[in-house]
Symmetry: C7
Subunit: 97 residues, 7 copies
């Protein structure tokens, strides 16, 4: 059954955590965070609407590597039981290159 | 008795949950959510009014498949005892294609 | 004694609940709501004032059938002991046709 | 001693409750409200200032009959021991004609 | 030692309570308020700055008689042990003439 | 070791309390405040940025004498163990001349 | 394994604490703060977006010495186990020269 495509609304960003190989951990950890804070962007929304009704462009795009905050975000399990997360773009801390 | 047509006001969206067939579940679940987060849009309002009094266009339309958050929304039982939900558009997480 | 005319201020809406005939209930109920959520608009205010001091037009008018939220509103008993309610227009969920 | 004239500031409204004759009560009561919600406007302020620094006109004027909310307002006893109330105009529910 | 001149900043107003002669009280009292709510304006600030960075003119000036709210304000004891109060202009209820 | 120069950011103001000689106290005290509320401005930031991104000019400058509120501010001990305070300009009550 | 470059988003600032040599401490301490409040800026974001959707320029840049508040910020441990911090620019107290 073809998996459904999730298209975030407004300034939301759909991400999937990048799992760290604990031994050769080269990942960025937040103190006390049980899982890695690194993720890859799967899809971005069209952008939020400001008080004048104009769209505010997104600065992230599909494929970007990002650093997640240690709170927030909505967890979604897709049809292949993969865990995804939806964040507002403002809550994402940084891009990783 | 003809069922009343519900026309959402401002940026509200009237939706009906898409029930998942538990065996061949292909639906999107939020952890701990007892029922499916997928729904279909039955009707949309004209749009919210911004600080300048101008209408902000809706991005959802009748027939769209959407992903609901795990909180919020007002539950309505229509005259045929069907359970519907009213959400503000900003609270709806994503479109599904 | 002639009943006083109540003219809502700003974006308030004066409504009267439409009582449902429990047997042939065709009304819209909110779960747990003891009385019907349907009401008819008796009068509307001139509209709220936005940050620029301009009036924002009302979208409801006298005679409209509406769906009330399950909270909020100010209850008034007029001189004929009729129970009326005052809501801000933003809080009214939908129009009913 | 001449009573002092009270000139409300910004969008405040000075009102005096209209006492109801309990027997031929024709007044508007709010459920549980011990005293009448009807009042007469004694004086209005010049109007609030919006974010651009411009004055927003008042919609009420001296002599208007109004319906008070069941909360809020600042109680003042003037030099003749008369009980007056100061409300922000936004908090007054309706005009009565 | 010359007393320091206090020049309020932004939209603050420096006031001194007008003490009421309890016997021939002609003052305005708020219920439960132990001291008089009448005061005289000693100095006013230049005005607040609105969102556009423009100054919003003050409506009160030195010498005005005003009615104080029953809460708020910052109490200052000047070098002659006189009790003064600093209020934001928005919090002052009315002018008295 | 040369002391570091502290340059406040945005609309912050760096101040140093003016210690009062308790006997010939001529200072301004706030009731219950253990130390004097008078201070001198050592440095001011460039100014806050308003919603349009424009800088809002500061009204205080180096050398001004000011009256501090009895709460707030961030305490800093500089390299010579001198106690300084950082306030947002909006929180400073008045200038003293 | 090459360490990842962290590029802050919006108006965030990536900083690294400047460790004080406790004996010849010349650093700025906040009362009760266990570690130094001085830090160096490693990277800055592009700037926040104001209500009109326009970018607000950053006032800090890579290499600046800054004074951190005693609360807030998100701690990150990079791949070389170095402790870094992400702050919103508005929360950083001052520049140090």
């Amino acid at each position: 059954m073809a998996s459904k495509r999730i298209i975030p609304l407004l300034n939301r960003v759909l991400v999937k955590r990048v799992e760290m190989d604990k031994k050769t951990a080269g990942g960025l950890l937040l103190p006390g965070a049980k899982d890695s804070r690194e993720a890859v962007v799967l899809a971005v929304g069209p952008g939020a609407v400001n008080v004048d009704g104009k769209k505010v462009d997104m600065s992230l795009k599909e494929g970007d590597k990002v650093l997640l905050p240690d709170f927030g975000g909505t967890e979604i399990t897709d049809s292949e039981k993969t865990k995804l997360l939806l964040f507002r773009e403002d809550d994402i801390l940084a891009k990783l290159e």
